[in-house]
């Protein structure tokens, strides 16, 4: 036996006791689980303690914005140095918390609209970054080494007991609440309305500590809406190549699409171009996808069998309600979304991920992090990778198996699309990603790469397709990528005789190699060319948000 003295643990209920102590401080301002709204700031000052780990619900769609607007008003002398865990830094007040000293450290996944300010505050030493994650990675850590003390979430409705209806935009709420409720953290929820009877219960009252009726409905952004009016002929050509050279070639039946105009073009080419190729029922049947308005024509013309969603999309609620065979809906009829589960579906259950990127290097590494911007990753790295834990097979997964050995595995399709030059004549293919320098400046241990080149199976540009999964060795990979990189610095390295050989071997395909006619690539091929067309396709059920209305 060792000489160490085993110290008797004094208590096994410190978290529970602390929670009870904090809750007692706010009891006077509550009726059941409902806190009087005018006491919100005092209540936050009572249940939060300096240095706490706080989860603030806010992803790229819905935001617990009443609670974030309230948290910036607490007295920074009382509450400071909080460790904020937030999937998307989207709102200005998220960063004001750091400027005021209320929060000090942040762990996050995405910082789209605030990416410039995040980079600035980091440089100024006002904010300290734990790590930049993907969505599921961040949620997973809530159950391991980032267990929260208090979580601030939002829902559509609560009843008097505190049961919650999260509505079509359920998104992240269940996982955040689960991590807190079952480890003695305090769960505070803002709701749009307190009602007598909920349409359905998404989260039971016994998981909830404090309910506040907010001053206005929680903020939600139509992030997945692409106006077909802005799809150009090059994007249509790229879409045609993906349909023929990837979906048809590998029989892709289940997939996730990114939010770019390339993938919007593909969705709008299914009822027209792909239909003319006789592909309906053979490809693109099952989707892990938010309810993209540009998918409406494909759904209406019988292309789509199922769609499971991360979140909802502003304006799509009535359409979804009328199409329960396609979408996942509750007994009340409205959509049930769930970001974690859909991310898992997009990682493990689909044949293909197709996404656009802003910058790619000669090894097919790509990132949306560019100079001066710390945008983060969101969910793309989860779906844009080959999950080695996958064991079930599908025709597409098996089709990417290049090694005949019986012990070799198949492979998920990770397809990246990009135009060889971005807006303003800036090359999209570069020698070194901006992310490398950004990572250095931010003191990160590794560069913030969104999708690693070795996970990418296909790269599609307006020039053609590089079938990277077929290449042998890094040199052939680089040559294949250069062959489709146009006149960018990467593309200029291509040699005509090498490219001809790659085309002969089927490692590179230009449009004519796969029966795609360049001259056919124009907007008349799109099943919808405007928001008005999408509304018409939906029979008036889709209600385009004001910011997308041209009428």
């Amino acid at each position: 036996m060792s000489e160490h003295i085993l110290q008797q643990r004094k208590s096994w209920t410190t978290r529970r006791d602390e929670k009870a102590r904090r809750m007692r401080a706010v009891q006077a301002w509550m009726s059941g689980p409902v806190l009087h709204r005018e006491k919100t700031i005092e209540a936050l000052e009572s249940v939060i303690v300096s240095g706490d780990r706080i989860v603030m619900e806010g992803d790229n769609q819905k935001q617990a914005d009443f609670l974030s607007r309230s948290l910036v008003q607490v007295d920074a002398k009382k509450i400071h140095d909080l460790h904020l865990i937030i999937s998307s830094i989207s709102r200005p007040e998220h960063l004001t918390l750091f400027e005021l000293g209320i929060a000090k450290k942040v762990d996050f996944a995405f910082a789209g609209p605030q990416s410039l300010r995040v980079a600035q505050l980091l440089e100024d030493g006002v904010l300290e970054i734990g790590a930049i994650h993907t969505y599921v990675e961040l949620y997973a850590r809530l159950l391991v080494d980032l267990v929260p003390n208090v979580v601030l979430v939002c829902a559509e409705q609560a009843d008097q007991e505190g049961n919650l209806f999260t509505g079509p935009n359920t998104e992240d709420t269940p996982v955040i609440v689960e991590a807190a409720a079952f480890h003695d953290a305090i769960v505070i929820v803002q709701v749009n309305k307190i009602v007598d009877k909920l349409p359905r219960v998404d989260i039971p009252a016994s998981w909830i500590d404090i309910v506040i009726e907010a001053d206005k409905p929680f903020a939600v952004e139509p992030l997945f809406t692409r106006d077909p009016r802005h799809i150009n002929d090059l994007q249509i050509l790229t879409g045609m190549m993906v349909i023929r050279g990837v979906y048809e070639r590998h029989q892709v039946q289940s997939l996730n699409h990114g939010i770019g105009f390339d993938t919007a073009a593909i969705e709008l080419l299914l009822p027209t171009y792909a239909e003319s190729l006789g592909l309906r029922g053979k490809i693109c049947k099952h989707w892990a996808l938010n309810p993209h308005p540009t998918l409406i024509p494909a759904i209406e013309s019988g292309w789509v069998e199922s769609v499971h969603s991360f979140g909802s999309e502003v304006g799509m609620d009535e359409y979804i309600r009328a199409r329960p065979d396609i979408f996942f809906t509750g007994r009340d009829g409205s959509l049930r979304s769930n970001r974690v589960l859909c991310q898992l579906a997009g990682q493990y259950a689909v044949d293909a991920f197709v996404g656009a990127t802003l910058q790619m290097d000669g090894d097919a590494n790509s990132s949306t992090v560019t100079t001066g911007r710390l945008a983060g990753f969101g969910g793309a790295p989860n779906m844009g990778s080959d999950p080695h834990g996958r064991r079930h097979s599908s025709p597409a997964w098996l089709d990417l198996k290049t090694d005949p050995a019986p012990t070799a595995r198949g492979r998920k399709l990770v397809v990246q699309t990009l135009e060889t030059f971005a807006k303003g004549g800036v090359p999209a293919f570069v020698e070194t990603l901006d992310a490398v320098e950004v990572g250095k400046q931010a003191g990160m241990p590794i560069a913030p790469i969104m999708i690693y080149g070795d996970d990418v199976s296909h790269v599609v540009t307006e020039e053609g397709i590089a079938y990277l999964y077929k290449t042998e060795g890094i040199e052939e990979r680089r040559r294949a990528l250069a062959a489709v990189a146009g006149v960018s610095p990467v593309g200029l390295k291509a040699k005509p005789e090498e490219t001809a050989e790659l085309r002969r071997k089927g490692i590179v395909a230009y449009p004519e190699d796969i029966g795609v006619h360049r001259l056919q690539a124009n907007r008349s091929l799109l099943a919808a060319r405007s928001m008005e067309d999408l509304v018409a396709w939906s029979g008036g059920l889709y209600q385009a948000p004001a910011k997308f209305r041209n009428w």
Binding site: R229, P271, T272, E275, S276, P297, E300, S301, G302, R523, A527, A528, R529, S530, E532, D533, A536, W537, G539, A546, K547, F548, R549, N550, W551
Partner: protein, 291 residues
């Protein structure tokens, strides 16, 4: 089942907005009668843009086509919204004025020639400043001359809309045809916000913009004559009707007393909302467009 059978009829229409300036103009003529004047191969382009680092266009964004509409002589002048926002410069202004003046000359000689103006424009081209302003004065004066003999029909289809000096040209036209996607106004939303502040006009609030400037509101107030769906056939048909009808007995811009009285009668102590203004002015019956 063929693809087009399952497409909604609206989606299957031939969208006018989808067409570029030249195709829009061509779509209005009787088959085989259209002839472009001073076309791109004549290379009459702006001398001012290149020296300011802007690539000029061989037609200066102004397309002039002559031909027959419903069997009657007509000229269509179309501004290409995709080139410099459809702005009016020295060359495009001169092309428009000359087309209108030749139509007047023909009309005076007994060959009535209507003019159709397809206006997708933010107004004067800033790079050409005073030359653009002068062009607008000339255009207006030429419209006033022609409209005594033959109708001048303005079409605003979208998505650029018609703003600035060219909205005055629309104002003195015999007829104005709009889609619900179109906007018509003297000052564009950004200009109003910049000059009078975001409280006066929030240029990012699209619902507000279309409730004020949009086709449904303009037609509803009687400031434009016809609200037509974004459908090339329907727009062509509306224009044929107006070409056939000839100039109205009294142009809108001649009804000075009517509009002065209407404006004088407005109660500006309260915020006026778009719908009640429509009802009060009792122009044409439209229902949508105001939120």
């Amino acid at each position: 089942m063929s693809t087009s059978e399952i497409f909604p009829a609206f989606v299957n229409r031939k969208s006018f907005i989808e067409l570029d300036g030249r195709a829009r103009a061509q779509s209005l003529f009787d088959e085989g009668t259209a002839k472009e004047l001073v076309g791109p191969f004549d290379r009459v382009e702006s001398p001012w843009l290149a020296i300011q680092g802007v690539t000029p266009q061989a037609d200066d964004g102004c397309i002039v086509i002559k031909g027959k509409i419903g069997g009657l002589s007509a000229v269509v002048v179309s501004l290409e919204g995709a080139f410099q926002g459809g702005s009016i410069g020295e060359v495009s202004g001169a092309k428009m004025t000359a087309a209108l003046d030749l139509a007047t000359k023909d009309s005076e000689a007994g060959k009535k020639t209507a003019a159709v103006l397809l206006l997708e424009t933010g107004g004067v081209r800033l790079q050409e400043a005073n030359l653009g302003l002068a062009a607008i004065a000339e255009v207006i004066s030429s419209i006033l001359a022609l409209r005594q003999h033959a109708p001048v029909i303005t079409v605003v289809a979208g998505t650029v809309g018609c703003f600035g000096g060219m909205s005055l040209a629309a104002g003195v036209s015999s007829y104005v045809v709009m889609t619900k996607e179109a906007r018509l106004g003297l000052n564009g939303p950004e200009v109003i916000e910049q000059e009078s502040g975001i409280d006066e006009f929030d240029a990012s609030d699209r619902a507000l913009i279309w409730a004020i400037h949009g086709g449904e509101q303009r037609v509803g107030m009687g400031e434009a004559d016809a609200l037509v769906e974004d459908d090339a056939d329907k727009i062509a048909s509306a224009i044929r009707g107006y070409v056939q009808a000839g100039p109205p007995s009294e142009h809108r811009s001649e009804q000075v007393k009517l509009y002065r009285d209407r404006i004088a009668a407005l109660d500006t102590s309260k915020q006026i909302d778009p719908i009640s203004l429509r009802q009060k002015w009792n122009g044409n019956d439209t229902t949508g467009g105001a939120r």
